[in-house]
């Protein structure tokens, strides 16, 4: 074990790591999203063909992941703003993080049917 150990940071550090990871994932999505939307100006038929390939259960699962990433990034972003601008923010950062996680779980549960409902009907029949 030649390598040093991982720094054992607490909630603040891991929320930052998650914020970074979700931010990079959202960037990659936006990159693809700009490309496929720009395709409509090249050829509407090609655009339809590409978007048709998105209507598969695997892409639905990826979309659910996208919802997860965006929700966390947005909610934690509000927490970071509060840390910087609310004078009591730094003291309540942990409570705010757990609030973010709580709201995220509720919204993710609510997003199951709208996002994955179609894929479930395709996979298991209606």
């Amino acid at each position: 074990m030649p390598a040093g150990t991982l720094y054992r940071g607490r909630e603040g550090m891991w929320s930052w790591v998650a914020h970074r990871v979700t931010g990079v994932l959202i960037f990659f999505f936006l990159f693809v999203h700009v490309l496929d939307t720009a395709l409509v100006r090249v050829s509407p038929e090609a655009y339809d063909k590409v978007v048709a390939t998105y209507k598969t259960p695997i892409v639905a699962l990826l979309e659910y992941g996208l919802v997860a990433a965006i929700l966390f990034h947005a909610l934690n972003g509000l927490r970071v703003i509060a840390v910087d601008f609310w004078s009591k923010g730094p003291r309540y950062q942990k409570q705010m993080l757990w609030t973010v996680v709580g709201v995220w779980v509720v919204l993710m549960a609510g997003a199951i049917y709208p996002v994955l409902g179609h894929a479930a009907r395709v996979l298991f029949g209606s």
């Binding site: 040093g4 150990t5 720094y7 603040g12 840390v83 730094p90 950062q93």
Partner: protein, 253 residues
């Protein structure tokens, strides 16, 4: 009247407070190898002793080549910040019993600064950032004062938290931004700037804010709170940094 006799000696000997603990220390000696290696030491130690006592036992009884810094050994000089079980702490303020002595206790040098030998790092970049924020009183009146500079209790309380810094570098070397780019001023320098920016007697707050408005200044803070968690003096470091950020936006301090 008979003199009381000590007959508890045997009982005390059987109830020895000592336990066997493994210290897993990250060793580095540039004269031997360019690679750092982990080395284990077994020692008998009272769980109420500190990690620093363990390091002393190793250096004095087992391996005299073990190198680390320590001066006062009581949490004031700030010499013995190191990474113990993955977190920055002062070896002289960390008790063995608070660390789960069942498992090996890992001791590493603090991150982000060049390791010179074993647990000793080059602190120069850290102190350079400290000097860069001008951590001394500056007044526009350059004549020698004829009386004290008075200050109300409220004005003194404004920066009380940041006067506690002992410059141990536990905060700066716990910061992921500092690990990736040593050009960042780091939490400790900002804390010491905060101590003067919010001091009603000081008149160079504007200059210090300008220094910290730099590309490598306060705006690189990502509020990971590692510094606040690591500070052995309990300074709310992230809060102090946020206050400097706010002062930069509003120019009110």
């Amino acid at each position: 009247m008979a003199t009381p006799v000590l007959d508890k000696v045997e009982a005390e000997a059987s109830a020895s407070p000592y336990i066997t603990v493994t210290f897993r220390i990250r060793r580095f000696n540039p004269e031997v190898s360019a690679e750092a290696v982990w080395e284990d030491f077994q020692l008998e130690i009272d769980p109420k002793e500190r990690v620093l006592d363990g390091l002393h036992k190793i250096k004095w009884d087992l391996d005299g080549t073990l190198t680390f810094r320590r001066s006062c050994a009581h949490g004031i000089c700030g010499s013995d910040a190191m990474r113990i079980n993955g977190r920055n702490r002062l070896a002289c303020k960390t008790l063995i019993k608070d660390l789960n002595p069942e498992k090996p206790i890992t001791v590493e040098p603090i991150k982000g600064l060049t390791v010179l030998k074993d647990l000793v790092v080059d602190m120069e970049p850290f102190f350079q950032a400290y000097r860069d924020v001008m951590p001394f009183l500056i007044t526009k009146e350059t004549n020698e004062p004829t009386r004290e500079r008075l200050q109300s209790a409220e004005d003194r309380a404004r920066f009380d938290d940041t006067t506690k810094c002992i410059l141990c570098a536990a905060c700066t070397s716990s910061c992921p931004v500092f690990w990736n780019d040593g050009q960042y001023f780091g939490p400790a320098a900002i804390v010491n700037a905060h101590r003067f920016i919010f001091d009603s007697r000081d008149e160079a707050g504007e200059q210090r804010l300008e220094i910290l408005n730099d590309r490598d200044g306060v705006w690189r803070c990502r509020t990971t709170f590692n510094c606040t968690d690591a500070c052995p003096r309990g300074i709310e470091v992230t809060k102090a940094i946020a206050e400097v950020k706010k002062a930069l936006i509003t120019r009110r301090f």
